[in-house]
């Protein structure tokens, strides 16, 4: 069943309205009619199954049938921060990371990042990535659509650190030195509702001075197993491990 994301919190209502892009998709692309059903996902993680009651020239009207029962969001919010990688790797990280439950994505220029984007390019790219996140969220039945933010400077990332409860640094050298317990320790000890920022380097990795700066801000160095993961694979490992720990083990 199709799923549409609304930029508003859920409020009990006798009828809901969709216009703009969602209207276009329902009426022109999916050619739905009254009695057809869709999911409406609100921005406070509430989602409902709704039935179309009426279609006007520019609005679809729906009525709530029931709340969606199962919880599809991870119990803790994980934001993936990626040092700008090459090519379309960020597309992959956002698409797959959304399927795997990431709460949001941040791109930032790491010391070894090669790509340089001006503000215009960055905005365009951000728009495209948000669209990828939204489509992946619909396809994977998420209850929220993750937001993607592309930062201009590393300082902008540092300015955001205080918004998180836990700061994880995926560091290849940790794995090489045999550090294989920090991630599990953090995941097992967290209280539900925590906000985690997980930082990943680009292809060339994080520079030692970057790692040091993050550690000074309270960052915890984590190995992700003994194999060397590419920059676009490491976030998927971390998200899968989080789901396994929080959703599959008891």
């Amino acid at each position: 069943m199709q799923r549409y994301f609304l930029e508003e919190a859920y409020q009990p209502n006798t009828r809901f309205e969709l216009s703009g892009e969602a209207f276009h998709h329902i009426v022109r692309v999916m050619r739905m009619a009254p009695k057809d059903q869709v999911y409406l996902a609100f921005n406070d993680q509430v989602s409902i199954r709704a039935e179309i009651t009426e279609i006007s020239e520019d609005t679809v009207y729906l009525s709530e049938l029931e709340k969606e029962k199962s919880q599809k969001e991870l119990p803790n919010n994980i934001t993936i921060a990626s040092g700008y990688p090459k090519g379309d790797k960020l597309d992959w990280i956002v698409q797959k990371g959304t399927e795997l439950g990431a709460h949001g994505f941040i791109g930032f220029p790491a010391k070894t990042s090669i790509v340089k984007w001006d503000a215009k390019k960055r905005n365009k790219r951000q728009e495209r990535l948000n669209k990828i996140a939204q489509e992946a969220a619909e396809q994977s039945h998420r209850q929220i659509a993750p937001q993607v933010e592309l930062l201009e400077s590393q300082q902008a990332l540092f300015d955001r650190l205080s918004a998180y409860d836990v700061l994880l640094i995926a560091y290849e050298e940790s794995a090489k030195q045999g550090e294989l317990a920090n991630l599990a320790k953090v995941f097992q000890e967290l209280t539900d509702g925590s906000r985690i920022l997980a930082i990943f380097g680009p292809e060339g990795g994080l520079a030692p001075e970057e790692v040091e700066a993050f550690v000074e801000k309270g960052g915890i160095l984590c190995g992700l197993g003994p194999r060397i993961l590419r920059t676009e694979t490491a976030p998927l490992y971390l998200l899968s491990a989080a789901s396994y720990q929080w959703e599959l083990t008891h």
Copy 2:
């Protein structure tokens, strides 16, 4: 450091020899010289650090410096069996799955698979996928290079089932019905050295009669969390979860 895979078991030796493609890569591509070092990975999971002692017209001679100490292979062998997906998704599954520690890959025609390959196309494709696996194994510092096998029929897959100790079926419907414990239960109870076959459907999923046939052969249905994962993402989840369980938790 470069890593070369040898199709032979390790035997203590005063000198090792590389010819053919590895010779070409060392001499022509990497332009290495005596005293340079590489890893040699044998097909019994032993790997050594070796130094080049001499380069002849068609052979590189090396001497062993030391065994590679850290264990980089998962303690249990996981083979990923994918119902043939569309496009180049199998490339991705093999590349990322190799980074994440898969022991081998099998492609098979599932009921909802759309691609149809004749023997020639299949062989060509298999060769290409084995090359992808080898390159990913080198890059991620694996101690083995996974083998990829593309099967002609589903029967050929059934004929292979007895080679495995555990048969896991990733089944979306399990997740929808709230089954969220089987995978962790299996992973936690396994004895090291087990051989696992994990079966994944193509985009259209496994048909109910396929699932039934695998279950009759002892297959265990597993959900991979409450979100719907694409066919190329699900194996990466399973492999990451295995690494987390076996390599990161204690």
